[in-house]
């Protein structure tokens, strides 16, 4: 059981993620999570006013099924397959986070400082999560994909546009992690 509850090795995880993508190819589909956000918009009927959302999202219901399965998988993994040894990040990282007032993992996936339920009383934290989400939603649709669609699907199919997008992901991520996050916290 320890093999399951401990942190999975990156090689095992990477292999399985690659297999997930290939399974979807075998089902005649393409792996990509962010297009579900477009489907969610379209489900509201906004397509009558904004043409971008007037598309055949029902043909993408399979992808919403993938999302549903992923949510169940997350629930099972967090509640039944985890232990206190998890999220053993670099001790230097922990020191840096402590300096910004962010708690150490101690087995948790997410810091309480950013995701604990007390953040609902903090307009600043609510704003951070919503703005982060807006950047993710806007950026992934503008770029035509996210980590799954470009970094995994696109790169493994040797797509130059995906390489550009992934370089962009890291440029943006490095700017945020090194220059903007220290200003926010």
């Amino acid at each position: 059981m320890e093999y399951i509850t401990h942190t999975w090795h990156w090689a095992v995880a990477g292999f399985l993620i690659g297999m997930v993508m290939l399974m979807l190819n075998y089902f005649g589909k393409v792996f990509g999570m962010s297009s579900n956000l477009r489907s969610l918009c379209s489900m509201t009927g906004i397509g009558k006013k904004v043409p971008f959302f007037d598309w055949d999202w029902k043909s993408q219901r399979w992808n919403l099924a993938v999302v549903f399965g992923a949510m169940l998988g997350g629930y099972v993994a967090v509640h039944f397959l985890s232990d206190a040894s998890n999220v053993a990040i670099n001790s230097k990282t922990i020191e840096q986070l402590a300096a910004m007032g962010i708690d150490a993992p101690n087995g948790k996936l997410l810091p309480d400082a950013l995701f604990g339920n007390q953040i609902f009383h903090s307009p600043k934290m609510i704003l951070i999560l919503i703005v982060g989400g807006i950047l993710i939603g806007f950026g992934s649709r503008y770029a035509g994909g996210c980590t799954s669609g470009h970094a995994i699907s696109g790169m493994s199919n040797l797509q130059l546009p995906s390489l550009k997008a992934v370089i962009g992901f890291f440029v943006g991520g490095l700017i945020m992690a090194h220059f903007i996050l220290p200003l926010i916290f």
Binding site: G14, G69, M71, V131, I136, F138, S153, A177
Partner: protein
Amino acid sequence: MNYLKYILVGFVFGIVLTKAEAVSWYRIYEMFQFQSFHMYGIIMTAIATGLIGIQIIKRKQLKDIDGNPINIQDKEKGNARYWIGGTLFGLGWAMVGACPGPIFILLGSGFLSVGLILIGAVFGTFLYGVVKDKLPH
């Protein structure tokens, strides 16, 4: 029960991403600080696995589950959309430590506050749909 196979694939995906901690804000922060190989290892192994699989699919002209040839469309050519859109996405990714897959997975795991990220992400997608014709692609 057409959707069952998709739910199962998603289920595996959710477990793998959670158990490899790719859904963890900490792991994303650590990755962008270059303080661990873990996330880079995951991404590179996934790409390598996919690359080999796609090469096999193409060379052997494999068929999908319905017997149709597997045809993976090329991404549209372009520059601005990938550089600018990619960078904006990266800013958000590092800010809240989650990309679209993990947003859903974490929400399913019971992290309520991640719902705020999802609300933002849906709104961001909506904003793109509204202004898309004014943007360089």
